[in-house]
């Protein structure tokens, strides 16, 4: 085993620890698309947990970016049109499908939730086909 596998494994476990803290602490599924779209609406008293999760993300992001910039060494190069189309699809799709990689994948698969298993297989296959088509057409 090398760093290429250990880092993903370690990161994956941290992601799971975070979602276990959510479930064991406040009894909720850690679904990022739900949390992010909740942040967009006017805050209600019982929804503050979404904001603090969001602030926790930005705080850790700030620390990681400043102290471990090696993890951010890549470029997000794409033309604006493609970025907009992809963003719209991710936003609309995750709401329509009630979740993304975190809610359906990280939390739904371990619960053996049928909806999440189907959703995860579907978005994985859609992503794989998209990357394949893009490569074939370029």
């Amino acid at each position: 085993m090398n760093g290429e596998i250990l880092n993903p494994l370690f990161g994956g476990v941290l992601i799971a620890v975070a979602s276990s803290i959510m479930l064991g602490g406040i009894g909720r599924i850690m679904g990022i698309s739900g949390i992010v779209s909740g942040v967009l609406s006017i805050p209600k008293k019982d929804e503050f947990w979404r904001y603090s999760f969001f602030v926790g993300m930005l705080t850790a992001g700030y620390i990681m970016y400043n102290f471990s910039p090696q993890f951010f060494e890549y470029s997000l190069s794409a033309d604006p049109f493609k970025l907009i189309v992809a963003g719209l699809l991710v936003g609309f799709g995750t709401r329509l499908g009630s979740g993304c990689t975190s809610g359906h994948g990280v939390c739904g698969l371990p619960r053996l939730a049928r909806r999440s298993i189907i959703a995860t297989i579907t978005f994985m296959v859609a992503g794989i086909i998209t990357v394949l088509l893009e490569r074939l057409m370029s």
Partner: protein, 136 residues
Amino acid sequence: MSVISFLAGFIFTIGLTVSGMINPEKVKGFLDIFGDWDYSLAFVMGGAVVFNFIAFKFLIKKKPVFASSHNLPTKLIVDRDLIIGAILFGIGWGLIGICPGPGIVNLITMETNIFIFVGSMLTGMYLFGLFDKLRK
């Protein structure tokens, strides 16, 4: 409750960063199974699912420490919305290589492109809200 979710968001982000999930080049390499496949990110989902499979079994039986009960998804049927939503999300994810969590984390780079992507993602979520109201 707020402290708990702050902590969870914090640990989640360190996990996303260390694992390589925030790196769109790596994600696209992971999805490129018919090309030069970078399988390393399979260990992110693998590690997370195995850990949670064990942890959730235990946690779901216990009352949450800071809430009166669990607040889990109640919908159980696989419907058209779920499938179409997952397809649309998968296409968008494959095009750029960024899903919602990494989108938020990447804002910290202050790159124009990530703001365009996340802005469009939020717009997509907002448009779904409108669409959902209209169809009811």
